[in-house]
């Protein structure tokens, strides 16, 4: 029987959050493709949602979005809203999706990255920050999506590794939680 170690969870999330915060503040502003930049808040929330999920995932998504909003000049709460919804959806299944299902997890993350980026920039368009939909889609959404997906790969590989006990890759409790309607692994 596996005993859930919540303290270990907290420590792991803390280290991951610190790493993503430093990367968001120090690296993201200096690495750009067009007008797009890596969204490490999205990466953090996705890792937590895919590995832990549930309430923890939702809360981490909200906090990550809030930190992202504080580090930009846009309205506060927009990225928090999007990452809360995204984390909730990604963390619905009662299992660690990154361990053993890295491919489908990457696809799921890519879909969320695209949607979050698109809705964020569309919302900025709606609040009057731009006048061109072309600019929103081509110059901002797509570069941000592409960079965020590329930057997620090392995180996905690291968190998909097993613990050396032979449990890596197995889907423990692999049956989706009751009420969970989305299972990218079965697509």
């Amino acid at each position: 029987m596996q005993v859930k170690d919540t303290n270990k969870n907290k420590r792991s999330i803390g280290w991951l959050a610190l790493a993503c915060l430093v990367l968001q503040l120090a690296v993201a502003p200096n690495l750009a493709l067009g007008n797009g930049r890596i969204n490490f808040a999205l990466i953090f929330s996705a890792v937590v949602a895919l590995t832990i999920g549930g309430r923890t995932g939702v809360f981490c998504g909200f906090l990550a979005g809030l930190v992202f909003d504080l580090s930009t000049t846009g309205p506060i709460g927009l990225m928090a809203l999007l990452l809360t919804i995204s984390s909730f959806q990604m963390g619905m299944e009662c299992r660690n999706r990154l361990a053993g299902e890295i491919g489908p997890s990457m696809i799921l993350y890519a879909i969320h990255a695209l949607l979050v980026s698109l809705f964020y920039h569309l919302a900025m368009l709606i609040v009057g920050q731009a006048s061109s939909i072309f600019d929103v889609i081509v110059q901002r959404t797509l570069p941000t999506f592409l960079l965020s997906v590329i930057a997620f790969i090392p995180f996905a590989i690291f968190y998909s590794r097993g613990d050396g006990t032979g449990l890596s890759g197995r889907q423990r409790g692999g049956r989706p939680k009751k009420g969970s309607r989305y299972n990218i692994g079965n697509i």
Partner: protein, 322 residues
Amino acid sequence: MNGGGLSSSGLHKDTQGNGSRLAVVLVVLSLVMFTMSARESNGGFFTGVRSVYSTITTPVRYVGVVVTAPFQGLGNIFSNLTANQKSLSELKSENAKLKASNVKLKEAEKTSERLEKLLALQSTYKLKSTAARVISGATSSWSDDVTIDKGSTSGLAVGMPVTDSNGAIGQIISCGGTSATVRLLTDENSRVSAMIQSSRAQGILEGSSDGTLKLTLISTDTSVKVGDNVVTSGLGGVFPKGLPIGTVMSVNKSAGALYYDIDVKPLSTTENFEEVLVITSLTEDQQATSEDITSADSQDSSSSSKSSSKSSDSSDSSSSSS
């Protein structure tokens, strides 16, 4: 225990529900914050929180600049490697001209300095300013701004104009204790009063997403050529008058239009920003004179009279055709 995927990272599955209630609460909270933040003017609660956050995270941004500094020049190296022979020969001839021009300018500068001493004239730009270092670029893909390492403790405040060695580059939009965010002229939300240096035609310089600047409200009555210098007009009292901004890249005149469509190439690019000057106050000489304001007003009135004459022409023609 179900579903607890154990990995080397130490993350375990949360088995206490899928957090739907918490998600609803946080979504509502986010929407409330978004609405309040969007309606907030400068100096509100969220501005204060952002200012504190900016102050706390300044050291991390420093680290980022230091770590990525060696890679900043990579773009230039690649563009130099791919430069063709034609561009190299053009650059050589331009360099020769600039050297000759530089000798003349140095001589003129000496003469000017002597004349200034003799006539006790003030130098062209006596900027009361504070030097600052750029520590970070834009964090989001949306805004075109930079963060500098000086804030309100150094006497900086929201609205102060910022220049680099080439001329005006932007304006402070938020100011923390030890750092400030500067909205660049190329940001889409940037609006600066500017004028064509040669013809003194005044207009508004706006940023755009492609990094160029658009000079608007320049009447088609005035003369504008490609290569003309664009400088700040001093109207509005924010930027000092006469600071260089860029050069005219293209001038388009649509049939029947009252104003030119002018693209301006900025003198400075974000990649070149290292040290900047924040102008903390303007002297009377640096502000627009009443003559400048009158000139701008007359430019507007001539445009509107032209507009009304055009509309009367069109109504005449429409009535004659009917």
